[in-house]
Point group: C2
């Protein structure tokens, strides 16, 4: 982890309350960490001895091909847990989309076989990641540009929890690298959606969903 730059602040206990103890919530007993926009939290190939939970802000998890092409594997929003790995090393790089607050826990603490509850929560998070990855693969393999975008918007609307008014934490390039398109195609398709009256763009990070029903049907 390259967290030793000036922008990272670590604070000791106590951990700020993130959310009331949900079933699959990981109550990370660890330190709080602030990360500024675009800063790396961990890199592909680095030892995976910590697990993270987003408290505030958002992050992107991605992999690079040899020639620089980037595939964003997932975005993590407040409440989401990331950094769980099978092997010793991280298989993706994770960076902050915006200024972000995280809670960190040592992996060994969580993997502790004595704590059945913690294990189950870890299990749920990992399986959730698997589900999302499989859904993602279906989108990337078989859907058209507008289907991908509709899918993305519907998913983000559900996860951001702000009803039909979205404040996207990521750039057009991030969206493009997530759904496997170019930034130009993303932009054009969003414009089309606006022309069709499906959405309303108010500043490029702000999306109002006007016809959620129609948009959902577009997901195929």
């Amino acid at each position: 982890m390259q967290m030793s730059t000036n922008q990272v602040q670590r604070r000791p206990y106590p951990v700020p309350p993130t959310s009331p103890t949900e079933p699959d919530d990981i109550r990370l007993i660890g330190i709080t960490m602030s990360v500024s926009r675009d800063q790396e939290i961990f890199g592909e190939g680095e030892p995976a001895d910590q697990v993270f939970k987003v408290v505030k802000g958002a992050v992107r998890s991605f992999r690079l091909l040899s020639d620089g092409r980037r595939q964003i594997c997932d975005f993590y929003l407040p409440g989401d847990v990331f950094g769980i790995e099978l092997g010793a090393d991280h298989r993706t790089t994770v960076e902050a989309l915006t200024d972000t607050v995280l809670v960190v826990a040592r992996r060994s603490t969580l993997g502790d076989e004595d704590d059945a509850g913690a294990n189950r929560r870890l299990w749920r998070q990992a399986m959730k990641a698997l589900q999302r990855s499989q859904d993602h693969a279906v989108t990337l393999g078989r859907r058209s540009a507008s289907e991908r975008l509709a899918n993305f918007l519907v998913d983000m609307a559900a996860r951001l929890g702000g009803g039909e008014a979205l404040e996207l934490p990521m750039s057009r390039q991030d969206i493009a690298d997530y759904i496997g398109l170019t930034i130009e195609t993303v932009s054009r398709t969003l414009t089309q959606f606006q022309i069709l009256g499906l959405i309303r763009l108010a500043g490029c990070r702000s999306v109002q969903i006007q016809k959620p029903r129609t948009l959902a049907e577009l997901c195929a």
Copy 2:
């Protein structure tokens, strides 16, 4: 599960020895099951109360979009475990590629919290699936047709374990639906590979890799 057709035979104990107890092997104490080609093992949405392991043969796991487009999520070969889910239901359909022998275990037996060893093996299998799904997403999102195919061939060569001589258990259509292309593009690209001397096709299921080095470089 639609396993009550005439082609399915169930046999009671004992379970045939599948492989010596590897670290992440699941020694499924359960019944052995034979499934014939193209037969469904379980369907999307059905209750996921069993976990399966391939003994002989191969299966495809896939999801269908509303209009019939099919995305194959993964192929499972001898030694592979499938059917592990977070929720109560299966999220994919699984069918036999060829005549296949499976071992089945009740999920509850495996999820038993007393058995730390079994839990760890289950964990490893699930995380392996996550890794494969993430790799798959990168392929589907960012790679060209020839990169996808090269990747597929290299992966299958490693998993089938027959060195440079592959006997593919799946059809061109299956390959296409796995790497997100049409059957025609798969066929054309394979022909190209043969023209370039990278592979040699001897009957359409039989592939000889002639230049593994070059093929690996093509994966990007």
